[in-house]
């Protein structure tokens, strides 16, 4: 039996506008700019909603109605849901309609799509709690499976998430971790008791997410029958094929004219042609299958770039400087108890800000450039640090700010 487990990541950051040094002290709106000059989050969200979220949701709803056993799952960042509420309530309603079918699972993650686990475990736990509350409020469900930002994962994370009560956790099926092992089974994170680990089958996932419209690819064009054939080949040597990808694959990364929606529309019927196949959600996979082995992941891995490590967010001095600067403010920011300051501080933790500062492949103009709203990583850094400087002034100027004075030691 081969089960297909679809999980779609849905996230949009609050991008920092072209915030200049001259705005410091004068302008607290780092993320909202309606001018043509700058990065307009509302416009971006509405564009993606029109190209991806709304049409893809319509296809999925149609499939859920047509196939009574069809199932999928989503993970939404809290900042994405906030933006939907503000800029596109009709898109939020269409997601709610999908989840109301009872066959669409929602996963847990950090509200701010942050790298907080790496810098502040307390902040990490707070953001997970905020996310859980948001999901309950909007969708009336409580997630039981966790996925960390950009599938960043290691043993320590699995331990923490197990302590927080989750039954499962999701990660990348990176070759350097799996070796000869297959991603098509469940694993037990090293040293844990109950939590189960599900790994992305990156080959089959990326066939859809990255290679679908690539004419240089030997298997181009990808059709639903062809993909179903590959899935069938897993029968007998795997339990579940984890197809994890950005939801924006449908209509935004792969445009409608590539035929991506038709592919999605016809995939379930092709998969069902083999009676051994089905679609399941992560929590069902965890209930149904036992781990086949323990998996030891000491170093952080992620689903980004060929390296599958942290280098997309943390490789050059600017990225380290920026992220250390934001977490250094934690204590003082929280002490203000000022909702707007705390929320701005958290919005600046979103991983995308550091991704935009990445210079690894900047020469080659690859995906980093494609997904970068700034002209250069350097401009991303300057705007971010300017905003951070303004935030720092707000914190220091706040009545609740306690100035730390060096106390002279008694002789």
């Amino acid at each position: 039996m081969a089960s297909l487990c679809f999980y779609f990541q849905v996230h949009q950051p609050y991008r920092v506008k072209d915030y200049r040094v001259f705005d410091v002290g004068n302008d607290n709106e780092y993320f909202n700019d309606d001018s043509e000059r700058s990065i307009n989050n509302k416009k971006i969200l509405r564009k993606v909603a029109g190209k991806c979220y709304l049409p893809a949701n319509a296809v999925l709803l149609e499939l859920l109605k047509k196939h009574p056993e069809f199932k999928i799952s989503f993970s939404f960042s809290g900042v994405f849901l906030d933006q939907l509420e503000e800029f596109s309530p009709e898109t939020l309603a269409s997601f709610q309609e999908l989840i109301a079918t009872g066959r669409v699972e929602v996963l847990e993650e950090t509200y701010y799509h942050s790298l907080s686990f790496l810098y502040s475990p307390e902040e990490f736990r707070r953001q997970v709690t905020m996310h859980r509350e948001k999901i309950q409020e909007l969708f009336g469900v409580t997630p039981t499976v966790f996925r960390n930002t950009e599938l960043i994962y290691n043993n320590a994370l699995a331990h923490e998430v197990e302590r927080m009560g989750y039954k499962g956790i999701i990660a990348e099926g990176a070759d350097h971790v799996l070796g000869w092992k297959s991603p098509n089974f469940l694993y037990r994170p090293q040293g844990t008791e109950n939590i189960k680990l599900m790994l992305k089958n990156y080959r089959l996932s990326d066939d859809i997410a990255f290679r679908f419209s690539s004419k240089e690819w030997v298997d181009f064009p990808l059709t639903a029958p062809k993909f179903a054939k590959w899935a069938n080949e897993v029968n007998g040597n795997g339990h579940v094929i984890n197809l994890f990808m950005d939801y924006e694959t449908f209509g935004e990364h792969q445009w409608e004219d590539t035929g991506i929606f038709n592919f999605l529309r016809h995939l379930p019927e092709e998969i069902y042609k083999n009676p051994n196949n089905d679609f399941i959600t992560p929590s069902e996979a965890i209930a149904r299958y036992e781990p086949v082995a323990e998996l030891d992941v000491h170093n952080f891995m992620s689903w980004a770039d060929v390296e599958r490590d942290l280098s997309a967010w943390l490789s050059n001095p600017m990225q380290h400087d920026a992220i250390q600067s934001i977490y250094k403010l934690e204590e003082d920011v929280l002490a203000t108890k000022d909702e707007k300051i705390i929320s701005d501080w958290r919005k600046l933790q979103t991983s995308d800000h550091f991704y935009y500062m990445c210079t690894k492949w900047f020469n080659d103009g690859d995906v980093h450039k494609y997904f970068n709203p700034y002209n250069t990583p350097y401009e991303a850094f300057i705007a971010y640090m300017n905003a951070l400087q303004d935030l720092r002034l707000r914190v220091v100027g706040h009545p609740n700010y306690v100035k730390k004075v060096a106390v002279k030691k008694l002789p």
Binding site: F22, P317, M318, N375, Y378
Partner: protein, 425 residues
């Protein structure tokens, strides 16, 4: 027989003789053109391309200078022609001198020199043997045209700058424009130093894009092995140093640099601005600096060359090139080699080959100041820029540029119907 064939084959591919017309050459150069001619001809020599370089100068070329040029490793021969022609004149001086030409009141004008150069070129082209003619910028275009007329060999024009760049878009001279346009129409091929310049040629001169080949300039790190630290004392006051280096003329945008400096100092007074260069706008810039009340933060250093200029690059925390219209722009590359990150105007050719730089529109002094302040405030930013740009410019060298030139020579020679019988070598 087999041996002979191989030999002639080798000769056919690797050897070629180029008659090249320029107007300046290091150390007797006042700008990027001489540096470019030096880099290009040296790289061509490595590729076994024989260059016959013609210079329109009566200026004293010292023996040591000649020695270097006649070095055996360099297949470059120099022919000099006596003229009073000066390659880089300042914009105002240029326009003044040029307009003298137009009115033709004075006897010994720039335009007459250009024509004299062409006559002399005709004599040279009659005597010498070569496969292709390569002429750099408008002052040598008539010489190139004359050489083609007398020899029938293909002519390639190399556009390092157009009349529209030199004048900052204000009052391009009709006669210069006419020489540029007619020569380009007559030539067999055109090399542009950037896509930025190619675009200008297409737009302003109506030359079809497919007649223009882009060959970006290069820089050879071996020419910058020891950069002296002699301006290190400038940093003793703990100030951050921001450098402008170039002719103080309308084309280079010095006034935008001064305006940005004013904005920077409003936020961070701990910055010192250096202006290295001279030109017709120097006085105006000094007055501007004084009237903005920032004279104590702006140092005019005069024209620097060689070690002095390199020391200035090295002392700086950021190099700024705010050019209004820069066909290429070699100075940012020199700064990067000296280890100093750069902020360059988007209206430049060099911006096409360097991604690891801060970039701005020359007129957007708010943005320029914002980026200067970012670079001086965050060590992490300059470190990232420095490391990445050093790596990146290794790919921007004269070997790559000369390779493109040679292929282009081959293509043009071939298009013009040359056969092994008509080829010189």
């Amino acid at each position: 027989m087999w041996y002979n064939e191989l030999e002639s084959f080798t000769f056919y591919i690797y050897f070629m003789r180029v008659l090249m017309f320029g107007w300046e050459f290091p150390p007797h150069n006042s700008g990027g053109l001489g540096t470019a001619c030096f880099g290009l001809t040296r790289a061509l020599a490595v590729k076994k391309i024989e260059v016959l370089f013609v210079l329109p100068k009566k200026v004293s070329v010292t023996a040591s200078f000649m020695d270097i040029l006649f070095g055996d490793e360099r297949r470059v021969k120099f022919l000099e022609i006596e003229t009073t022609l000066k390659p880089y004149v300042t914009s105002e001086g240029y326009i003044r001198e040029r307009d003298k030409v137009v009115s033709d009141i004075y006897g010994n004008t720039l335009m007459q020199e250009v024509k004299r150069y062409a006559l002399r070129a005709r004599e040279i082209a009659k005597k010498e043997h070569f496969d292709v003619i390569h002429a750099h910028d408008w002052l040598s275009f008539l010489a190139g045209v004359a050489a083609k007329k007398v020899s029938g060999k293909p002519l390639i024009l190399h556009m390092h700058a157009t009349e529209f760049d030199r004048t900052g878009g204000q009052g391009a001279n009709e006669e210069v424009y006419k020489i540029e346009r007619e020569a380009m129409q007559y030539a067999d091929g055109i090399i542009a130093v950037s896509n930025f310049t190619k675009q200008k040629i297409v737009e302003h001169y109506g030359i079809p894009a497919d007649k223009i080949q882009v060959v970006h300039n290069g820089i050879d790190e071996c020419d910058y092995t020891s950069i002296p630290d002699k301006l290190a004392d400038l940093k003793k006051a703990g100030q951050k140093i921001v450098l402008f280096a170039g002719r103080i003329t309308i084309q280079k945008g010095p006034e935008y640099f001064i305006r940005a400096a004013k904005r920077v100092l409003e936020v961070n007074p701990n910055v010192l601005f250096l202006v290295a260069g001279s030109g017709d706008m120097e006085r105006q810039m000094m007055l501007e600096t004084a009237s903005l009340g920032i004279s104590d933060h702006v140092m005019f250093m005069g024209f620097l060359r060689g070690d002095d200029l390199n020391a200035a690059y090295k002392a700086a925390d950021l190099f700024v090139m705010p050019s209004v219209s820069e066909p290429f722009g070699i100075t940012p590359l020199e700064s990067i080699i000296a280890g100093t990150p750069v902020l360059i105007s988007k209206q430049s050719g060099v911006s096409e080959v360097i991604t690891h730089a801060l970039k701005t529109d020359f007129w957007d002094t708010e943005d320029m100041a914002n980026k200067i302040l970012g670079a001086v405030a965050h060590r992490s930013l300059s470190e990232t820029l420095r490391g990445n740009s050093r790596q990146e410019i290794k790919k921007v060298n004269w070997d790559v540029a000369s390779e493109k030139c040679v292929s282009y020579y081959e293509k043009i020679i071939c298009d013009c119907g040359a056969t092994s019988d008509t080829r010189y070598i």
